[in-house]
Symmetry: C2
């Protein structure tokens, strides 16, 4: 029988138990006190280097990720980060239940399920305050603490939430297609801001030149930057461009290490994560505050016209 | 020059100054300390009886509201509530700027702008934590405190937010059309839950019988209730059905007063409003907590792997 103790699970995950690893991810997904205990352990380990992949549904991200897994394991290194296993989180925030996520899993599993060097996990929701924006960084920490030096987080969609999750990575890859305009128009500025690398997938299709020109002129508008996101072309279905993408990720990592951007970004990310956790903890307290004698006493005062909600809230908060 | 003091403004609004009234609404819309001062006054007066009107865009709510204003002012009473003026709030949460709201104003203004007995105000957003879900109840309180015994709040759309705002009323009217299925499918359950009265507007169109049957069978599924929402038919363009709608609103009010539902609902609404204000106040404090020396010290501990976000948040909250 598998343990329920986070420390035992982590020890087992570190020696290769996928069951223990999966259970740890479930723990941080579900939240609650046992998650706190797990968090106390996983956040004290070196974090994985995280590659985020995002883009509209149908852009071919899953196939591209598949290709990256295969050729990444052959490489075994991203600059000075060496690895013999890869952790992948597939996130679909738009799917409240796990239907879509499971489907994604299955498609990938065909190739990698039996591969001991790959851990793939789908996450669609979290039964806890803070939702995926807290669960994903926690799950990435589980991977790091379990001995994955490199992790990939793939999100489906280009809404603000998907982009936020993907951009909480060390290198963010935005996947587009020829004729990308329509599918990404809604959040063009957001995508442009988070992209470290642009990929035009399905490069065998018509319209690639226009798409590249569009992206270049958007990048031009953004002005001078120390790192100008390269625009790569891939055809995930036959694997062409995958090696160049790994090279670009490695270059971006090297740039970040040399420039100090990596630690700046991790600091910013840590600041945001802490703010989110703070928000979730406080929300939980509000739920507590919104019950009981003191609360009802203020409700009575309000109904009697003896107070206003702002004054009553101040009193409850004291 | 008009005063900036809430007490002076309220006194002026009570003696009929529309400029003072409009400024008070602007105060509660914009939030901040002056809003707190205003809130301390307006929540100490008797609240208006509030009729909420909601439904999908294009259902004819504005025309129907126009008709209600005209015939309401002729009636001058809703059961024991007598009035010689009506306050109307038109809410469009989907419009981040006031474009749509202003348009709505203009259309209505043609008929009522010069009418001293009508105060119409559009609200589209609030530059403050809590947004419209706080600003609308505050604005309704302004109307009540300024001497409006009856107020109408009209929201455009059937999303959860629109429905929440409209249902924070004493009587909630859901406006549909023949063939309503498509436009309301997304939030059918939500609408069914909040509706005290259903109106099938554009009753001169085909499909009214099917729409009524659909609504009836949905209501049947809801089981026995002390108040079963009546289903009325109106043609707002020629005004037919308006009088019956006023009668239904009056009946619902009478039912609520007799059954005690009015005070039960007002208590529940007060409880929710206080919880929302509490949430907004606490959110403001989180922003404060997410800066400064203590916060950066915790960020440093996190980066050094000496803590996890949950423990750090606990420390900051202490």
């Amino acid at each position: 029988m598998i343990s329920k103790d986070p420390a035992e699970l982590l020890a087992a995950a570190r020696t290769g138990s996928r069951t223990a690893l999966a259970r740890l991810v479930t723990m941080v997904e579900s939240g609650g006190p046992v998650m706190r205990a797990a968090a106390a352990l996983i956040y004290r380990s070196e974090p994985a280097y995280v590659v985020g992949i995002t883009g509209p549904p149908g852009a071919g991200k899953s196939t591209l990720t598949d290709r990256l897994i295969t050729s990444g394991l052959v490489r075994g290194a991203l600059g000075d980060v060496t690895f013999d296993q890869l952790g992948i989180l597939c996130i679909d925030p738009s799917s409240p239940f796990t239907g879509g996520a499971i489907l994604g899993d299955r498609i990938r599993m065909q190739e990698h399920a039996t591969n001991d060097h790959v851990f793939i996990r789908s996450m669609a929701t979290r039964g806890n305050l803070g939702g995926l924006s807290l669960a994903v960084p926690d799950a990435l920490r589980v991977l790091g603490a379990s001995g994955f030096p490199l992790a990939v987080v793939e999100t489906v969609g280009v809404g603000q939430m998907e982009v936020d999750i993907a951009s909480a990575a060390d290198t963010t890859v935005v996947v587009t297609n020829p004729g990308w305009g329509d599918s990404m128009q809604a959040n063009k500025a957001g995508l442009l801001e988070v992209a470290d690398i642009f990929v035009i997938n399905k490069a065998d299709r018509a319209g690639i030149r226009e798409t590249r020109r569009d992206l270049e002129s958007m990048l031009d508008l953004g002005g001078e930057r120390a790192w100008r996101p390269p625009i790569l072309e891939t055809t995930a279905t036959d694997g062409s461009g995958t090696e160049a993408l790994w090279d670009a990720i490695a270059e971006h990592r090297a740039h970040q290490v040399t420039s100090g951007d990596l630690s700046t970004r991790r600091r910013e990310r840590t600041r945001r994560e802490l703010a989110k956790v703070l928000g979730a903890q406080v929300s939980a307290r509000i739920v507590d505050l919104s019950h009981g004698e003191d609360y009802e006493a203020q409700v009575n005062r309000l109904l009697a016209g003896e107070s206003d909600p702002y004054s009553s809230a101040e009193i409850l908060l004291r």
